[in-house]
């Protein structure tokens, strides 16, 4: 039985990833000083999603792991999104 692929990510990559993540953190704090009306939450969530994707891809090695994992993760996020949408069929139309 195979024991998985092993890709060694070097320290520099991780350091860069951290820099990018910190940048987005700064960005999200920065934009929170402005009011985009209804879009405020959207902007915050988009930035958060980008950060989460980066963490998943690099820190959590999805980029180098098997396809199954990527499929499963996307399925789960899709499911959560669907549940949100359907719940809001109630709350948005009350």
């Amino acid at each position: 039985m195979s024991n998985g692929k092993h890709h060694i990510t070097d320290y520099k990559t991780y350091a860069w990833v951290l820099v990018i993540l910190l940048f987005f953190t700064a960005l999200t704090v920065f934009v929170s000083w402005f009011d985009f009306k209804a879009l405020t939450i959207a902007v915050a969530l988009i930035i958060a999603s980008i950060k989460v994707t980066i963490v998943l891809t690099y820190f959590m090695h999805l980029k180098y792991d098997y396809l199954v994992f990527r499929l499963m993760v996307s399925m789960v996020f899709l499911l959560i999104a669907l549940v949100f949408v359907i719940t809001f069929f109630d709350y948005l139309f009350r």
Partner: protein, 533 residues
């Protein structure tokens, strides 16, 4: 117990410990499965007797021997035990554990220790559920649905019951996790996804639901506990919350949970029919994929329990629409089962009779589910005994009969002994008659407007209730018969060959009872699972 057929069977050898300790510390999937079986059957009897108590009280209008408060506690505990302790773990934990690894050609599940751990979590949950009956201010009286804000206010032991459900959820999650990894990683060489038998397929779909739906009820119940203990308001309008949100969260789990109950049952039936009809199962891929479809779409229809709860009009029709869509994959399965019998060579043995009873009951349960799923008619029958009849038909008539079918099907494999066929056939008939007498009248009084969870009722519903109560006793008799037959045969039944029914899946190719290792050598699979010639 003496199982002389096979010397190194899993009955004889567990691990380094002997006797009871050997069982309690064993990580062998077969032993764990069997321990689940004994536990679940015991809880089923407790729950069933509570059901009988309710029926006796309901035989006549007015108060007979229970007080209203006790009655409410009885149906709550009956519901909690039956749902969380019996049918949700039911087939997956018992027959999934016993046979899934064998059917895919593995020696055990991927995480045997975790498997044993789930069993103990299950027992812990069960103990908590039992404790909730006795401590403090009396047994919980909220119904198994724990609707807020009543559940945040009721003075009874709601917390203990809720924690029990939470802990049991954990056990369910871990079992699901274990099965998914096992099916991904431990299939025998050559067994591609579409060469896997259909019972493991159904368990795979089930496991995903267990994994992805259970956390939602976990967090919901935790919020409920936080609300009761710390006054952190989520659902109680006095603390700012919205009671309907609780219902959403509860059903996001509890609707998929009904598919956790029925999918493995469908899987069992899909194993039994080809074996006794000696035919390759009709539409293998359709059955396999419809399990996955049911799991996927079934996740999104929870709102059909809430048509009258005050949701927006839009949400109501969206949920109704999705509900009808889920019915289609179930229909596909029924059609495929029946066509598998076409031109077969059918031997009418007890498991087959139970399977037929399953299909019949499941059709009634499912078709009445369509009445509930339709907006106009649901408004009338929601929360009436029509619903009670629907879900007993599908949970008990479906999952329950499938459990009995599975028990009679795999009994010779588990114990290496055979039961009395005649007695098994008779008990099947009695149970079927009792079952129909018990639940069919509830459809009718439900249509006439008999609300559920009613301790007392108006005189016009008496006839229906009375007939129903008679049915409960006939049913009890049938169970007594099965119980006697199987217990006696497990000890003294005739020793059987390894493959009494002529099954083609892997578990029938190894000795009865199986050895500890299941396989001397891991088999290499070249053919599909039901290649009858």
């Amino acid at each position: 117990m003496e199982y002389s057929a096979i010397e190194n069977s899993y009955f004889k050898i567990g691990n380094k410990h002997k006797g009871l300790l050997g069982w309690l510390t064993s990580t062998d999937h077969k032993r764990i499965g069997l321990m689940y079986m004994y536990a679940i059957i015991s809880f089923f009897f407790i729950g069933g007797i509570l059901g009988g108590v309710m029926r006796t009280e309901l035989a006549r209008p007015g108060q007979d021997f229970l007080s209203a408060q006790t009655y409410n506690a009885v149906f709550t505990v009956h519901g909690v035990i039956m749902i969380f302790l019996v049918v949700i773990p039911g087939l997956a934990a018992v027959f999934g554990n016993l046979f899934m690894p064998i059917m895919i050609g593995a020696r055990d599940v991927s995480f045997p220790k975790l498997n044993l751990f789930s069993f103990y979590i299950y027992m812990l949950g069960a103990v908590l559920a039992v404790i909730s009956l006795f401590i403090g201010k009396g047994a919980p009286d909220t119904g198994w649905t724990f609707y807020a804000p009543y559940s945040t206010q009721s003075g009874t032991n709601v917390i203990a019951a809720v924690l029990a459900a939470f802990v049991l959820g954990f056990s369910s999650i871990l079992t699901g996790l274990n099965f998914i990894v096992t099916i991904h990683r431990l299939r025998a060489p050559g067994m591609t996804w579409f060469k896997m038998p259909l019972f493991p397929w159904s368990l795979y779909a089930t496991a995903w639901i267990q994994l992805l739906a259970t956390p939602i009820v976990g967090i919901t119940l935790l919020m409920l506990v936080a609300e009761r203990l710390f006054k952190i308001g989520f659902f109680d309008p006095n603390l700012g919350g919205d009671p309907i949100l609780f219902q959403h969260l509860f059903w996001i789990y509890s609707h998929p949970a009904v598919y956790v109950m029925i999918l493995p049952a469908m899987g069992v039936i899909t194993e039994i029919i080809p074996t006794f009809a000696k035919r390759k199962v009709y539409g293998y891929k359709a059955i396999a994929l419809s399990s996955v479809a049911i799991a996927a779409v079934g996740y999104l229809v929870w709102g059909h329990h809430m048509y009258t709860a005050g949701m927006s009009g839009t949400a109501r029709w969206v949920f109704s629409f999705l509900t009808f869509i889920v019915a289609v994959p179930s229909a596909i399965k029924v059609f495929n089962w029946i066509s598998t019998m076409y031109k077969g060579s059918i031997s009418l043995e007890p498991p087959f009779y139970f399977a037929m009873a399953f299909i019949f009951n499941f059709m009634i349960g499912g078709l009445t589910g369509l009445i509930l799923g339709s907006l106009a008619t649901n408004i009338h029958v929601h929360d009436t005994s029509f619903v009670v009849a629907h879900f007993h038909y599908i949970v008990f008539g479906g999952m329950g009969f499938a459990f009995l079918a599975a028990l009679h099907y795999w009994f010779p494999k588990i114990y290496g002994r055979m039961y009395n066929h005649k007695m098994a056939n008779w008990s099947c008939v009695i149970i079927f008659i009792g079952f129909t007498t018990l639940y069919f009248p509830l459809f009718i009084i439900g249509l006439q407007g008999m609300p559920r969870r009613y301790f007392d009722y108006l005189p016009q519903f008496q006839t229906g209730h009375f007939i129903s109560t008679i049915g409960a006793f006939i049913l009890g008799l049938g169970f007594l018969l099965i119980f006697i037959n199987l217990v006696r045969s497990a000890k003294k039944g005739k020793i059987t060959t390894s493959n009494p029914w002529g099954g083609l899946t892997l578990e029938w190719q190894i000795p009865s009872p199986p050895t500890v290792e299941n396989f001397e050598e891991i088999p290499v699979i070249t053919e599909g699972p039901y290649e009858y010639k």
